[in-house]
């Protein structure tokens, strides 16, 4: 909760807001009342309409206009058109939407875009480009770490984090732990582990 508080959104306010938005158009009064109830010094209530949020995505400042209920994942995919991170389970169970938030891996489907205000987001696209691959991306290509490719962007980000954290001594067990929250249906796991360890060695 501490991070949410810092951004001025409470889980409670968000849930109330979202529920009301779904039920009727008359949402302003209860939210205002809620704000009062929380006290003038309490958390800032956002929405339910679109609000502005400025975040740094892959090194570039981006100002978005999104509804507070919009997840970071949704915002990255549209309007930002960074479609690497994938929506699969939409509830933090599969890891296909993994991105780095201030350098830490998160499931972007469980982070609100407004929560990322002022923070640094790195997606798979930000790690490397086709012309200039990140060591992990190159190793995924070399060791066939992708099959259908749908889980791949999340796997790549999770492995890049593991490589950054453990350096060239990254063990297979550490790579396994780093990707334990990333599901793959094609069965790339053995090759993903190989790729992560190889990328770490490459430095």
């Amino acid at each position: 909760m501490s991070k949410s508080d810092r951004r001025g959104v409470t889980r409670r306010a968000l849930f109330k807001g979202a529920g009301l938005a779904a039920a009727s158009g008359a949402v302003l009064k209860p939210l205002e009342a809620l704000a009062k109830e929380e006290g003038a010094s309490g958390p800032r209530v956002q929405g339910p309409g679109a609000v502005k949020a400025t975040l740094e995505v892959n090194g570039a400042k981006q100002t978005l206009e999104v509804e507070p209920r919009t997840t970071l994942l949704q915002a990255l995919r549209l309007p930002l058109d960074l479609t690497g991170a994938k929506p699969v389970c939409d509830r933090g169970q599969c890891g296909a939407c993994t991105v780095l938030l201030d350098g830490e891996p998160v499931y972007s489907c469980t982070v609100l875009a407004v929560e990322a205000e002022g923070r640094k987001v790195t997606t798979c696209e930000g790690l490397g480009t086709p012309e200039n691959l990140h060591a992990v991306q190159q190793a995924f290509v070399d060791h066939d770490g992708a099959q259908c490719g749908f889980c791949t962007p999340g796997m790549v980000v999770a492995c890049a984090y593991a490589v950054a954290k453990h350096g060239k001594d990254l063990t297979e067990a550490q790579a396994r732990e780093a990707t334990a929250g990333n599901l793959c249906r094609c069965g790339t796991y053995p090759h993903v582990l190989k790729a992560a360890v190889a990328a770490a060695k490459e430095g």
């Binding site: 779904a22 039920a23 995919r77 995924f140 066939d144 099959q147 259908c148 249906r185 796991y189």
Partner: protein, 738 residues
């Protein structure tokens, strides 16, 4: 028109000379031991870079100007009549473009659509769907085989449908009654497998866009671009095939459940027509589990009989499974692979109020081989024989005979197989086991691959078939590369688009052997075209121009690199087509495979840990050994997941699925993934000019059987129900199994 070719085919150690009649235009088949530069090597997939950088565009990633979003309200009841629907609030919402309701509809499975909305944004769509109120008149239902069998007429949408292995009718051969009577060793047991959902990470769905001239472009997550651009979709769009383009640039997994356009794609097309906007609809994860297809479950009662020396004489049995409210499809391949002189098998597909099953990687096989291999283990134990020796004794396949030996060596059968099952001391017990697999797919269809080259040497290879992640793009490049003598990575392959020559639907491991030979021929035709240009340039007969090690050579020491030869191509470029013709008479119709597993079972908690799997497989001549290994890894991993974790749980009272999420419907994760040793045996199949066979399905056939066999060896008692959850392991240990 035809010529005879005699060449060596099969596998080293069991090779055989084949004489085949090939079409004049066909390339000479490559014999066993042919020296090939690119075919049979490790080639990184051509689209790897696009996939690791997030550039690869899946249907889920398509965003178009003014694109609208479709979604559905789904029924939470297995059997009900829709009494009333109040969609007035949804219709009144700004941004809602269209609403459909199905008052009076009889719902026959949970997850069935009862109302649909098209809206300008995801947010409006979510609000509108949530604002639709539906009242149901709930009817009696049966959602499981056992419930349905109790009172079939009242609670099943259809009468049960008897099938043998999915083909219809009962299976009978030899003299099963007499053989059962005279069997010296006879075992009888019941095996069960659960319903497995496909759980592809990209859901089903499409994006439909109709341009101002009335041509439609459809991005679809499909295993069959050509098939998708067919009947149902065309009827919905009211357009001829030639005005509908289907694109599947990349697709996030299918495993058998994604062929033609389905109701949600039709909805998407109709909304696109109605609203004049592009419309996107991909299923939610919940719907994906509910209606996205599944592998039918099974109850298999088997009796296996034979002689004391371990020779099988008879298999008899009866099976039941449900494929939802569809007909057929719940058969089990439990009488295949081994020599079984007498068979009597009756298989029932039981109709229930659940969504339809679908083909799932090696339909009928993983469940069938789990039961058959279990019966074989029980038979070997009763006869006092080594279970591997019994398998080999009854195995007619020359390739699998070699594979059993390779696998046994790799797993350390002699050392690791417990002579007395369950004899390890302490609570954690180890064991090894094995199982066979089979498949049969040498490709089919007269598919064509187009190839263009320009004067800069840029080669483009085209076919409409989709790459499911199996590596079709790369495979086509390799087959062409071999004929042109240039590296596969330099070839540009375009697939997944109905603008290219039509390709096969990717089902039954058919794509690689169906397209590989066509690609090889396209490469050959291009080489001939270049040789003709060089012939003119060198003033010689083009047949005297040869290609060796990537260099064209002609009489009098003439030489030209591929690049130089391409320089002779006119500005307009050069276009050729390679076509696949009929299959030849091959070496063996059956693809062989076997797997060995080593497991540790904690007898206090019931937790099974798969420590190692050795997977020995044949897929004819392998084109890309790297992608082949990935395929086998995938088959093994899905097989372990099927054996240990996956089970669609239905609430019998509500008839709805209680675990339609990835934290409640478990698929295998990284933490559970064992060491997998993949051994690929090259077998020149003889059926086509390359000698290829398919590999996708066979790799998952033996896995569950091998693991169950290893568990039996570890704990001394069979766990006869999948998934082998800790509770079922403990029940088996305590003798509480059904």
């Amino acid at each position: 028109m035809a010529r005879k070719v005699t060449y060596l085919a099969g596998i080293e150690g069991a090779e055989r000379e084949l004489t085949v009649e090939v079409h004049d235009l066909d390339a000479d088949p490559w014999p066993l031991g042919a020296k090939l530069k690119y075919v049979g090597t490790e080639v990184p997939r051509l689209d790897g870079v696009a996939k690791v950088t997030g550039v690869a565009q899946f249907t889920q990633d398509v965003n178009l100007d003014k694109m609208a979003y479709a979604g559905e309200v789904i029924a939470p009841h297995a059997h009900a009549v829709v009494k009333s629907i109040d969609a007035s609030a949804a219709r009144a919402m700004p941004g809602v473009l269209a609403v459909r309701t199905s008052e009076g509809k009889r719902v026959t499975y949970a997850g069935s659509s009862v109302a649909a909305v098209c809206a300008t944004s995801r947010e409006v769509l979510a609000d509108a769907l949530a604002a639709i109120r539906v009242e149901y008149d709930v009817q009696p239902h049966a959602v499981t085989v056992e419930e349905a069998l109790k009172d079939e007429v009242r609670v099943s949408p259809r009468r049960s449908n008897d099938t043998a292995g999915g083909r219809g009718g009962a299976m009978r051969r030899g003299n099963p009654d007499a053989a059962l009577e005279s069997a010296e060793v006879k075992v009888e047991a019941e095996y069960r497998t659960a319903i497995q959902t496909h759980s592809a990470l990209e859901p089903h769905g499409s994006v439909v866009s109709i341009d101002k001239e009335g041509n439609a472009t459809v991005w679809a997550s499909t295993q069959a671009t050509s098939g998708f651009a067919g009947g149902r979709l065309l009827r919905a769009l009211e357009l001829p095939r030639g005005r509908v383009r289907v694109i599947t640039e990349h697709m996030g997994g299918g495993f058998g459940a994604k062929f033609g356009a389905q109701s949600w794609d039709v909805l998407c097309a109709e909304f696109a027509k109605e609203t004049g906007r592009p419309v996107k609809y991909l299923l939610t994860r919940r719907s994906e589990h509910l209606v996205g297809g599944n592998r039918p479950d099974s109850i298999q009662k088997l009796t296996l009989g034979g002689t004391k020396d371990g020779t099988f004489t008879v298999l008899a049995g009866e099976t039941w499974g449900t494929s939802g409210n569809g007909r057929g499809g719940a058969g089990c391949a439990n009488f295949m692979g081994y020599t079984l002189p007498s068979v009597r098998m009756l298989q029932h597909t039981v109709s229930t109020f659940t969504a339809r099953g679908a083909a799932f990687r090696a339909p009928r096989h993983p469940q069938g081989f789990f039961a058959l291999e279990g019966a074989i283990d029980a038979f070997a134990a009763k006869a006092g024989l080594d279970p591997l020796a019994v398998r080999m004794k009854n195995d007619p396949h020359p390739v699998r005979q070699i594979q059993w030996k390779i696998g046994a060596e790799r797993i350390g059968w002699k050392r690791n197989h417990r002579k007395v099952a369950g004899s390890d001391k302490g609570p954690v017990k180890r064991g090894v086991g094995c199982a066979a697999g089979r498949w049969s797919q040498a490709g089919r269809g007269n598919w064509s691959v187009d190839l263009t080259i320009d004067s800069s040497g840029h080669v483009i290879v085209m076919n409409g078939a989709q790459d499911l992640g199996t590596g079709t793009r790369t495979l086509l490049a390799i087959c062409v590369a071999e004929e042109l003598g240039i590296p596969p990575a330099t070839i540009d392959v375009r697939v997944g688009d109905t603008r290219y020559p039509p390709g096969p639907g990717s089902g039954g491991s058919t794509t690689a052997p169906s397209l590989g030979p066509a690609a090889r021929e396209a490469g050959l035709r291009a080489r001939e075209a270049l040789a003709a240009l060089l012939g003119v340039e060198w003033k010689t007969d083009s047949e005297k121009v040869t290609l060796e090690d990537g260099v064209f050579k002609g009489p009098g020491g003439k030489k030209a690199t591929f690049q130089e030869a391409c320089g002779l191509i006119p500005d307009e470029g050069l276009r050729v087509r390679g076509t696949r013709r009929r299959n030849y008479d091959g070496y063996n119709r059956e693809t062989a495979g076997c797997q060995f597993a080593e497991v540790a079972v904690d007898t206090e908690t019931g937790v099974i840990t798969v420590e190692r799997v050795v997977a020995v497989h044949d897929a004819g001549r392998l084109v890309n050994t790297m992608a082949s290994r990935s395929q086998v890894n995938g088959g093994v991993i899905q097989g372990i997941s099927f054996a240990l974790y996956e089970e669609r749980q239905l609430d019998e009272n509500l008839g709805d699925m209680v675990n339609p999420t990835f934290d409640t419907y478990k698929i295998m994760g990284m933490a559970d993934c064992p060491q997998i040793d993949v051994v690929l045996t090259t077998v020149v199949s003889g059926f086509n000019s390359i000698g290829m066979m398919g590999l996708g399905e066979p790799a998952t056939v033996p896995t569950a059987g091998a693991i169950a066999s290893a568990v039996y060896n570890a704990i001394g008692v069979q766990v006869r129900q999948l998934p082998m959850t800790p509770a079922r392991v403990l029940a088996a240990l305590e003798g509480r199994q059904q």
